[in-house]
């Protein structure tokens, strides 16, 4: 499986470590209350289909990527630097 790194081009998925749902980047406000944090920590969507997830380029430039992957076919539909996604910057 190849992941199209936005800076380094296609790289083997073995170089990456998988973290999970990219929704983890939307951490609730500290004042949001227990229910919001319980949802943030424990609840995950588990879609059969297109999923946005966080991958860490451990054997590479150590950047976090938001990878869009189809969980039924393992097709990688795109990858962006998580930093740019979080800051609303272009790729």
């Amino acid at each position: 499986m190849l992941i199209p790194h936005p800076l380094l081009g296609p790289r083997d998925a073995q170089e990456f470590t998988y973290l999970g749902d990219a929704a983890l980047m939307q951490r609730p406000d500290p004042q949001a209350g227990e229910a919001a944090f319980a949802d943030y920590v424990f609840q995950r969507d588990n879609p059969a289909g297109v999923h946005r997830e966080l991958w860490y380029h451990e054997y590479g430039d150590r950047s976090w990527l938001v990878v869009t992957r189809d969980t039924t076919t393992h097709e990688i539909l795109g990858a962006k630097l998580a930093r740019n996604v979080k800051m609303g910057l272009p790729e």
């Binding site: 800076l7 296609p10 083997d12 054997y59 430039d61 950047s63």
Partner: protein, 184 residues
């Protein structure tokens, strides 16, 4: 006072060396490595333009390669000059890395083909990723390595110093097993 004898990362008194076909492997004990992190848009270190993603650049005694967004590894034979050059950059962070790594240089006497054959055996990357003037971090025999290609006939592989013997074994065994046609 105790008489201490310095030795290289591979346990040899001097830099370890081996030769297989057109390839010569040499441990580089004299290089200074400094990691550099910058928060602003500084684009040059003294006379050296800081290279972009996947690139390696050299100017005089200073060389640098990109290791991540806003981060580089700086190489030099003159530790004091390299430190002074980095210290002169506003907002630069540097970390001494020299003793953390083992550096093995592989030189070819027959141009680029033997080095290309070697990298094709070792790393799961397109050969262009390690063309002259390129550098990358990658996995090699399950080791986390930094690989640079300073010149057409020179490839440099670095890994954690504690894994020096594993890297040496991987490189030497691969160089020894290259088909004679590729090794010359």
């Amino acid at each position: 006072m105790t008489d201490l004898t310095p030795m290289g990362a591979l346990g040899t008194a001097g830099p370890a060396a081996a030769r297989h076909g057109a390839l010569t492997l040499t441990e580089d004990c004299a290089i200074t490595l400094l990691s550099l992190a910058l928060r602003d848009e500084t684009s040059a270190l003294a006379d050296l333009p800081l290279p972009g993603p996947g690139a390696y650049a050299r100017s005089g005694d200073l060389a640098a390669f990109w290791t991540g967004p806003g981060q580089w590894m700086v190489e030099s034979r003159d530790a004091a000059a390299a430190r002074a050059a980095i210290a002169a950059l506003p907002g630069a962070r540097m970390t001494e890395q020299s003793d953390g790594w083992v550096v093995i240089r592989i030189c070819s006497e027959a141009g680029a083909p033997p080095l290309r054959a070697l990298t094709e055996k070792l790393v799961n990357l397109p050969a262009e990723t390690l063309a002259p003037g390129r550098a990358t971090r990658c996995q090699l025999h399950h080791l986390n390595c930094l690989v640079t290609r300073p010149a057409e006939t020179e490839l440099c592989v670095m890994t954690l110093r504690s894994a020096a013997l594993s890297l040496w074994h991987a490189l030497e065994a691969t160089a020894r097993r290259l088909p004679a046609a590729a090794a010359t």
